[in-house]
Symmetry: C2
Subunit: 304 residues, 2 copies
Amino acid sequence: MEKFEINILGCGSALPTTRHFPTSQVVNIREKLYMIDCGEGAQLQLRRSKLKFSRLNHIFISHLHGDHCFGLPGLISTFGMLNRTAQLHIHAHADLEPLLSAQLGYFCQHLPYTVCFHAIDPTHETIIYEDRSITVQSIPLRHRIPCCGFLFSEKPRPNHLLREMIDFYQIPVHELNKIKEGADYVTADGQTIPNRRLTRPAEPPRRYAYCSDTIFKKDIADQIHGADLLFHEATFAESDLPRAKETFHSTARQAAQIAQMAEVKQLVIGHFSARYDDESTLLEEASEIFPKCRLAKENLCIAI
Amino acid sequence: MEKFEINILGCGSALPTTRHFPTSQVVNIREKLYMIDCGEGAQLQLRRSKLKFSRLNHIFISHLHGDHCFGLPGLISTFGMLNRTAQLHIHAHADLEPLLSAQLGYFCQHLPYTVCFHAIDPTHETIIYEDRSITVQSIPLRHRIPCCGFLFSEKPRPNHLLREMIDFYQIPVHELNKIKEGADYVTADGQTIPNRRLTRPAEPPRRYAYCSDTIFKKDIADQIHGADLLFHEATFAESDLPRAKETFHSTARQAAQIAQMAEVKQLVIGHFSARYDDESTLLEEASEIFPKCRLAKENLCIAI
């Protein structure tokens, strides 16, 4: 199975603690890296992760609260010092561009590469990025300011050719792509070989859903239904439900309810409030509803 | 002896490593905290230091390279979330104000306290801060952009009264302040008691000099002569002297030469280039010239 991994760089929330960095993750799909959110210290954690800086070309920012984007100037500046030349694409709310541009204009005057901004509309499910192997779709969330999550979906892949059957029927090379895509093969003497005798199915495409920050929002479940992994914020324990509502955050139990409704395969919770010295209560509360749940932590890598 | 401590929050240079945070320090003088530089992650390290956020009212920024100031927005934002009400004073090159104000205007719209900017002229030795017990003077440095260090000096303190002598001569309370300041005492019958019989001298005022970032600059030594502690940048080893000159940084050996010329009591070196996995070479090179030398490291606290 080809690589599809989530690397947690930080899973704290706004206030600093000695246990957590603010929010940042890197999705590694076949050694192409996609960063989600870039809280302060993301570049330090990226260095710690041993992921290659040069493999990162896209950064997706869920919303413009500082704990999700204050790491950008440092990261961009460091990429410059490392003589990066490839474009870096930042997908974020439109308000970020003038703010960050002003900073880069002063602190990173001679960047050897270009930073390209792409404005996200967080209010609708939209494909905001696409390449040969994946799509990234926005997941509209509900927070104190415009905010969206991200659904990373592998594209369906062509079937695998059964080499011994291709050889047996002496199928010419120019036919192979069609067969990978599902075509039958007709031999020189008119015999039709059904596709299923020539191929085995590709692995089913995998999906990762990232949902932070948001108040409990049921309709997320439809969009992410059946995802292989869901990261959902779980800022608060159930005892702090009023505070969760007030600040447009979720409890661990609510994160688990979304996972249950969406019938995802696994749940990982994070964005923990600084008030909890020990997050085991959050894990217990979530696991009661959705047992295949784990706590995010710094430097955790989850393979899908 | 009253508290005068230097807390190293970060002593790396521009590129992130797994060993160091970028530059930040906190000077703790009698539980009043003064931050010097505020690289990315300074607030995380401040939390780790267990120093009280509320005791910090002044931040001094040596120069406007990102690794010395990218931690400001996060720190300022966090102070707001902690419901700080006291003013926070930032002493920095004038260019910082519009840049930081734009960021705070967006990310910290309802700060419950005021951030006050104070422009530093880094080209002259100037008293940039003063209170009852200390002065902070700028130390002009020479770097790629305008830059200065900071000399923290305790003010001379009044002598200590010898309680038993005060009682013996039955000196009235309203005379005591004058005696602390050095006056003799004349008794009711005209006898003059010399001050040295009534007091013992206060501890000599202490001084801490912070010099980063700078190319080797001899005349620093005059201004900081005899300081109790010198922090001097030592970005490079002697083998990288050409690179030090090119980038307007110092070698460990040059830092030690400044310490030697200035006849300071102790030297601590930092701002290490990411290229050194092991800084013991830097320590050796500095110690050959100036033996009372140590390496800075994160979470190190040095009492003066």
